[in-house]
Amino acid sequence: MQTADRHILGPPAEGACDDGPTMGRTGRNRRAGGPSRRTFVLAALAVGTVAGCDLLREPAEPAPDELEPVLAGALDLLAAYQAATTTHATLRDLLTPLANDHQAHADRLAKQLGRPSPSASGVPATPPIPGTSAGTKRLLAALELAAQRTASAATLIAPARHAELVAAIAACRATHVAVLR
């Protein structure tokens, strides 16, 4: 029921459900001179606002499932690009803009998930980079294609508020495949 409401109504306007200041105001009134009629009215409004927002607000936890694999994919790709440019300096000009796209994806996804901007440094599993630049490009193209499929699958299950972001990421990864081939 709540899910259906959320999709029809969409997320509340920025700050509309920021209950912190509302509660603070009520608290200040209480400290200032005991409960007045105004305090009760404000308190009632605050409770109403919070309750109303609970119906509309995106839950902070758990994180939206469809974004997690797309973010993990962006970080895996970033790590692979870093390893590839370290091994093959001649590919740097080709690969750096593509890696920058993945960082932009990771930043935007993290923002949507309410987290700080991530980096690939914590990614433990980077595939072995082939000894030739041609082989490396083929490997990256295959990783991009797999990651594009992940983002496409996420697009098909995403709520409207996330669908465009993951769709754009899927499309970007598709352009990377074309650039690497």
Partner: protein, 139 residues
């Protein structure tokens, strides 16, 4: 897909086909082949969209006789720039359609977005510009 997204997407595909007519008049060789492939893709998408609209009991709007170009095209580089513009605009329309759709309709919109973004990337590289953008449809 609501009717308005269908109609908007159909209008974008009509405009893309008109634009490629202009592009095709100014390019030769491999670029001309790319124009033919792009026309084929946009035409088949336009036709499928028109059938979908008709199947839902709506009227599929025909193409306009002419469309205003975003800038004058007089040579090959202008034509390549127009081709890029066509695909970027179509990508933006289809990306917006993604969030307005669900199920099979969203699949159609996503496939179209990916196709337009890939063609835009190809045209950008042909023009010597950076081949990719992080969020295709940001225009």
């Amino acid at each position: 897909m609501s009717t308005s997204e269908l109609v908007t997407a159909l209008a974008a595909e009509h405009a893309a086909l008109y634009g490629y007519g202009v592009v095709g008049a100014h390019v030769t060789g491999a670029a001309r082949e790319s124009v033919k492939e792009a026309e084929e893709a946009h035409r088949s998408r336009r036709d499928a969209l028109a059938r979908l609209i008709a199947a839902r009991g709506q009227e599929a709007t025909p193409a306009e006789a002419a469309y205003t170009l975003p800038f004058p095209v007089t040579n090959t580089s202008g034509a390549v720039k127009l081709a890029t513009h066509i695909e970027e605009r179509a990508a933006a329309v289809w990306r917006a359609a993604v969030s307005a759709t669900a199920g099979d309709d969203r699949k159609i919109a996503l496939a179209a977005l990916i196709d337009c973004a890939t063609r835009a990337s190809s045209w950008r590289r042909r023009a010597g510009l950076p081949g990719t953008v992080p969020f295709p449809g940001d225009h």
